[in-house]
Amino acid sequence: MSWYGSFAALLPLDNLGHYLHWHFIDISIANVVVIALMVITFIAALLLPFPGRQRRKENP
């Protein structure tokens, strides 16, 4: 196995996935994680202050 192959073996994703079922909704845990990360990123983009705001001052 190549050196990068041993890295990939740390978290292999070729095993059968786990799924959440609720009524007609059927979603993989992997997709839930990705969606949660997207929502967190969106909220962070809204709430985190702009970088360098101390240096930037609006002209009157």
């Binding site: 990068y4 073996a9 292999p12 070729d14 095993n15 059968l16 993989s28 609006e58 002209n59």
Partner: protein, 317 residues
């Protein structure tokens, strides 16, 4: 000439304040580098699924009875492909939207005769074998009713089909050359020769897998594997990938329609969902022209959250 009234949804007020310099190239470069490093890191740490391609050879060795039964369905005209309609044949009207027979209008563009293309022609491509040559001659010289009788006889007996000692076993009595066809096609498939025979690409590179894919899709083996991996239409399969790899989450709305009535039971679900998504996409495109909908950003005031420093400064002054 009277001045037009200010329309808050459409008109932008003239900015009379100051301007701040902003380096968008710098921001773009930082974003590119961060995303590239993140991609590299995730690609190293996570192993991606590496599913081997399913071929007819794989299928016929793993499930020979399913293959032989599917081959028979191609011969007796009961397979999905045989009854699909356009663009493959005239087996049915095909997908339609209300009174609009869209597939029929487009016509037969990729002609598929399942009897000849999937069974007879591949067998003809085999090196000379006395029993097969005799069977092919018998088939070619028979009338349509004789052929139909043989196929019907074999179909009747095929309900108890088994596979033993490397051979397809069916107790048919008056099936003419059909047992030889099914047995030889199965052996051809198990050797990998049928995969090659069904590839119809004329060019140097082989990229047209239409025929083997249609044949594969007519059986239950491929759909069984897809079902196991949560990839079928009624499992939100459009959103999923093989293994536990994240899939195409952004296709949630497209695949959502397939889960609810009337789409989950409709034979025309593909066309209906395509039409709905087309309408919704047009709606999104013309949002700036739809009163009420276009006011949502202004009324939710999310922009004031993003640019809160600016509005705080404005309130101070």
């Amino acid at each position: 000439m009277t001045k037009k009234a200010f329309r808050p949804d459409v008109d932008a007020p003239e900015w009379k304040g100051g301007y701040s310099p902003y380096d968008i190239i710098k921001e773009g470069t930082i974003a590119l580098v961060v995303v590239a490093l993140l991609t590299l890191l995730l690609a190293i740490v996570f192993g991606s699924p590496d599913e081997h391609a399913i071929t007819i050879k794989t299928w016929s060795n793993a499930a020979p009875v399913d293959f032989a039964t599917t081959a028979l369905s191609e011969l007796n005209g009961t397979s999905t492909t045989a009854q699909y309609g356009a663009p493959y044949n005239h087996g049915s009207t095909g997908p339609q939207l209300g009174p609009f027979t869209l597939a029929k209008w487009a016509g037969v563009r990729i002609s598929v005769n399942t009897v000849n293309d999937f069974v007879i022609d591949p067998l003809k491509s085999q090196p000379s074998q006395p029993a097969l040559s005799t069977a092919l001659t018998q088939w070619s010289q028979a009338s349509s009713s004789e052929r139909a009788g043989w196929v019907a006889d074999y179909t009747k007996a095929a309900g108890k089909m088994t596979f033993a000692n490397g051979q397809v076993m069916v107790n048919s009595t008056n099936a003419g050359p059909v047992p030889v066809f099914i047995e030889d096609l199965t052996q051809m498939a198990r050797s990998g020769a049928l995969d090659q025979a069904l590839i119809t690409q004329a060019g140097f590179y082989t990229t047209n897998y239409t025929m083997p894919l249609l044949f594969l899709a007519d059986g239950t083996y491929l759909s069984g594997l897809a079902d196991h991996q949560h990839l079928t239409g009624d499992q939100w399969g459009m959103m999923n990938e093989t293994g536990s790899y994240p899939g195409q989450a952004w296709l949630w709305l497209y695949t959502f329609w397939y889960q609810i009535p009337p789409f989950n039971t409709s034979a025309n679900a593909d066309v209906l969902v395509f039409a709905i998504m087309g309408l919704l996409s047009i709606g999104l495109l013309v949002t700036p022209f739809i009163p009420g909908l276009r006011s949502i950003p202004r009324k939710t005031r999310v922009y004031r959250l993003i640019w809160r420093e600016h509005y705080q400064n404005q309130e101070k002054t």
